[in-house]
């Protein structure tokens, strides 16, 4: 490198260090003046506040570190469900937008334009306050699918009671291994004999069949507890037993899914339209059916266009999930950067931890998506 190229770099680095140094020193001096100490010792202290919804065992006697974990898991939960649902909905709508059927096409277009252009926070408030408010009180709720209740206090469903849960997991694992071999065999057979196996159907049978057989052989047991109406006061009811899903989680998931799916749908449409028309016509001319064309010719190529922008949407969804605080869903921001920050007053430490956490989640998602993108890239022969 020439000297006149190194110098600007050095100057840049120098100023970056200077800026960070200035902020660090400034914060240090100010905190010292106000008698605030910096440290992460508070994480071990008792949190002494309860959290509405937790995936792990938690109550106020646990530590702030545990409360952080509860918030993190709740964030990951809503991000995970949101990503899966918005991907499915996005693909369906994206394909629907290219449908030759006028009604389907226009409905999909209307959906995309409508949900994409309304601020997400408003949508979250809508689903929480408007839509959920329309739900019945627990005592007025109707049976849903024979065993569940959708009420303003939440969705109450039967809760599974497992016996020998690990046996069930082993049987699932075993069926997955079997499916892997079926796919290998199907591929080999197609390459050698040109015949196609209905591999999806076979896999589905294995996936359901093996756990079912284990069940009947008495390997594990499964029963359900059903939600029962319980009276708290004259006009106040709740459900006991079963599994309760808070309306905050439902509203947040619906809002995030509907919003993000519009962007994914547009990515899918762009990906499909990015493939030359000739490809489709050529595939049709050798006698492939429409679904085969989509599956074997269009999608493998379109995915390369779809995946990178869709990764961005996954990241957006994860970060947008922090809007949960507005509707009391106990995510990382509400629990940790909210209540915990208030109770301890450790603003700098907690904001730093929260930022580092979101950064790690985002980097993990994008690492995974980059790996997937590389895997499906067309390998030049």
């Amino acid at each position: 490198m020439k000297r006149n190229k190194i110098l600007p770099q050095l100057i840049t680095i120098f100023f970056i260090i200077l800026v960070f140094g200035f902020f660090t020193i400034n914060a240090q001096i100010n905190m010292e003046n106000r008698g605030i100490e910096f440290g992460f010792g508070f994480l071990k202290q008792e949190a002494s506040f309860d959290i509405q919804f937790s995936l792990i065992e938690y109550d106020g006697s646990h530590s702030y570190a545990r409360a952080y974990l509860v918030g993190l898991l709740n964030t990951l939960l809503v991000a995970f469900i949101g990503i899966i649902l918005s991907t499915i909905l996005g693909i369906v709508v994206g394909i629907a937008r290219l449908s030759p059927n006028y009604l389907i096409k226009k409905t999909a277009t209307f959906y995309v334009e409508f949900f994409r252009n309304i601020p997400l926070l408003l949508q979250i408030f809508f689903w929480y306050f408007a839509a959920l408010r329309a739900l019945p009180l627990p005592q007025d709720a109707n049976l849903l699918l024979g065993s569940s209740f959708m009420t303003i206090k939440g969705l109450y469903t039967p809760a599974p009671l497992w016996e020998n849960f690990d046996v069930f997991l082993i049987s699932l694992f075993f069926s997955l291994i079997l499916i892997f071999f079926v796919y290998r065999y199907a591929k080999k057979r197609q390459e050698e004999e040109g015949k196609q196996l209905p591999k999806f159907l076979i896999s589905l049978c294995i996936f359901i069949g093996i756990p079912l057989l284990t069940f009947f052989a008495g390997g594990f047991g499964l029963s359900f507890t059903f939600p029962e109406l319980k009276q708290l006061a004259t006009t106040s009811y709740t459900y006991n037993g079963g599994m309760g899903i808070p309306p905050e989680l439902t509203a947040l998931t619906i809002a995030l899914t509907l919003y993000t799916a519009t962007f994914i749908a547009e990515n899918v449409r762009a990906g499909i339209q990015g493939i030359g028309k000739g490809q489709k016509e050529a595939a049709a001319s050798i006698g492939l059916t429409t679904s085969q064309i989509l599956k074997l010719v269009i999608m493998p190529q379109a995915l390369r266009i779809i995946i990178p922008p869709t990764t961005n949407q996954y990241l957006n969804l994860t970060k947008n999930s922090s809007l949960a605080a507005a509707i009391a869903y106990p995510d990382l921001v509400l629990v940790f950067a909210g209540t915990a920050m208030m109770q301890t007053g450790r603003a700098i430490e907690i904001v730093a931890i929260t930022m580092a956490t979101y950064l790690s989640i985002s980097l993990a998602i994008s690492l995974f998506m980059n790996w997937y993108n590389k895997r499906i890239a067309i390998k030049e022969k």
């Binding site: 106000r34 306050f129 708290l232 006061a233 507005a326 208030m342 007053g345």
Partner: protein, 346 residues
């Protein structure tokens, strides 16, 4: 090359300047806050996002309430005009950070005085302007008239970032009742969720319950249960480390309370200058040199009483006449059966 060097030096100059300003401010005199306030010409005051009776803005943006009056009193004392206040509405979560980071100079936002807040996070509480306690609100139709009727599985709504969340846990745990806490960031959303039926009870400071009740669709359908489950002394807060400013805010509040004790009101304050009672004369500034301690003139307390009124006037105007809590309860003077007792201004 020359251009790069030139840039480098101008950057360096800017940064040296920033450092210089930074250290100059650090090493400034003890009452940096008062000096800045005089320079700016207004008091920077953090208030709630809307709590009738305490700090609430009307349609044209005028703030009223007993918490607001504390800031107005400081403005009247320091700047001579009770209207020279810039109000910053803050959520419970934001309030302390706004104060410690220097965005506001007084936090007067129905804030509970606790040991950890006072000692641990760079804050100093200057006094109590409202003695409160946490209570519960329920729908009248539920038939609940006491917290002893609460049953397992009850849903309780509240705000995050308040002592309420901690008291609620203490209460339910000690009674052995399992409950579902639903904590929102803003009070308006708690009210909306409770009103819709998401929760069976709404818990916060009793004054807050009384105030929020006025915002409900049908205030008469709700009652506040008689039990008080905690002590909530609410008062103004300042940053730690500026004792002159701290004293000014403390004594602005104390003057309001003591003025009521001696019967000095906004309407009779001027005539009290010739009173026979030396303590009254000190309060209206016709005797003694009390203002000098803050570097202010001697009429600082007279301005507070004339422009803002004494504590009783403030309470009546904001809390009693608005129908929130007509009965002063513990917030009555010690001479009249309450617990309002302030050190003498002399």
């Amino acid at each position: 090359m020359r251009k790069t060097l030139k840039n480098l030096f101008s950057f360096l100059a800017v940064f040296t300047l920033m450092f210089a300003i930074g250290t100059e401010v650090m090493a400034a005199k003890k009452s940096k806050t008062l000096k800045n306030t005089l320079k700016k010409g207004f008091v920077r005051c953090g208030v709630s996002q809307g709590l009738p009776g305490f700090s609430n803005a009307d349609a044209s943006g005028n703030w009223t309430g007993v918490d607001v009056d504390v800031c107005r009193a400081v403005a009247a004392a320091a700047l001579g005009d009770a209207n020279k206040v810039k109000f910053t509405p803050l959520s419970a979560k934001e309030r302390f950070t706004a104060l410690t980071s220097g965005e506001i100079d007084i936090l007067s936002r129905n804030t509970t005085w606790t040991l950890s807040r006072d000692a641990d996070i760079g804050l100093t509480f200057v006094g109590v302007n409202f003695y409160d306690g946490q209570g519960f609100m329920v729908r009248k139709s539920s038939g609940i008239t006491s917290t002893s009727q609460f049953k397992n599985g009850i849903t309780a709504c509240t705000n995050i970032g308040t002592t309420t969340e901690l008291n609620m846990r203490d209460f339910f745990t000690s009674k052995g009742i399992s409950y579902e806490p639903v904590a929102f960031e803003k009070a308006d959303e708690v009210v909306a969720a409770y009103d819709a039926g998401r929760c069976d009870t709404y818990t916060t400071d009793k004054s807050g319950l009384a105030a929020q009740r006025t915002k409900m669709k049908n205030p008469d359908e709700h009652i506040v249960l008689p039990e008080t489950i905690s002590k909530e002394p609410l008062g103004p807060v300042v940053r730690q480390g500026d004792s002159v400013w701290e004293d000014l805010v403390r004594w602005s509040l104390n003057v309001m309370i003591e003025a009521e004790e001696y019967g000095i009101t906004s309407s009779n304050a001027d005539s009290m200058k010739t009173s026979d009672n030396p303590q009254i004369k000190r309060l209206v500034g016709s005797e003694g040199e009390l203002g000098a301690a803050f570097g202010l003139d001697n009429e600082w307390s007279l301005r507070i009483i004339k422009q803002v009124g004494n504590y009783g006037e403030s309470y009546k105007r904001n809390i009693a006449d608005t129908g929130i809590l007509p009965d002063r309860g513990p917030n009555q003077l010690w001479t009249k059966g309450g617990i309002l007792y302030v050190p003498p201004a002399r």
